[in-house]
Symmetry: C3
Subunit: 127 residues, 3 copies
């Protein structure tokens, strides 16, 4: 029997018209780039708050997809300045349990003055 795509949007994360928060297919969930804007749609003053918000958004989307931070397979981290990498790694290791997913981290240009964005592929379902 052919599997079907499931389109996921978390009620806890702002929706944007051009994309679904995640799309599931079989046991995999493909998550859109999540960012750390606050409840007023502003970029927080502190990098750490922005990153934590983005992690929380990722967590919400994974939950809506039947997944979680400990079911991540591959993560991409996008920084507006690669110099943030050490601070990112500290925050990341506190929040993402071992064993950790595969990851690639690069410096790119982000919209709206954002300093951080994260997308991911995860497994889903009971373990």
């Amino acid at each position: 029997m052919t599997q079907v795509r499931k389109y996921i949007n978390s009620e806890h994360v702002p929706t944007v018209p051009p994309l679904s928060h995640a799309v599931c297919f079989g046991e995999l969930a493909f998550v859109s780039g999540q960012v750390g804007i606050d409840h007023n749609n502003q970029v927080p003053e502190h990098f750490s708050e922005e990153v934590e918000n983005a992690f929380t958004a990722l967590e919400h989307v994974l939950a809506a997809a039947g997944s979680s931070l400990d079911q991540l397979v591959k993560v991409n981290c996008y920084l507006s300045n690669i110099a943030y990498r050490d601070e990112l790694n500290e925050l990341y290791m506190q929040r993402f349990p071992e064993p950790r997913p595969a990851r690639t981290t690069v410096e790119v240009g982000l919209a709206h003055g954002l300093r951080f964005e994260i997308d991911a592929i995860a497994t889903r379902g009971p373990e």
Copy 2:
């Protein structure tokens, strides 16, 4: 029975030696970055034409892989300037049917004066 990889090249898109246009595995197709050069291998003057050409190239590759724009799971959009994002979104929403795939959009450096590139993961086969 182990699944096999299928290497796909569309006859409607210029082939380049270092890569296949897409590789299929099971019900998934992984598509190379598609760009919007015209029939003379030039970058169009207008951003909108470049983007539409890239969407058409993506459509051709998906078709050759037994997939289509409405079977996309995850899309990555690469812009040479993130300021193009709003214009991209307008063009994107006209061309990509709802429900839309997961997406990440970042600003990077592209070759040959290109302003846009898009790659994707899609499902394939009859639905």
Copy 3:
């Protein structure tokens, strides 16, 4: 029966706390960004040496995941300067056998003065 994630680290590649070298799920392996630092953790003087080192690191991780360079499905190449693309392509085509995987290549900022990084999705297991 639900599949399980397998976390892979190659003994031939430096481990870093925030990530696993690869995570396998079913017949797929998702590989972290691999770089071309030498045995003294330095970036080689010559671009070609840096690229070859990164390819070797990728090969080691794929081997640890039960995969290989000829089982790649999708590759992402990251260059600190897109002008390196032609030189990358020459090295790439010597090392990666046909038929070649899908690929996307973009210019981004990389850490520590690196000029090249590569991540990948591959199939695994006997063929």
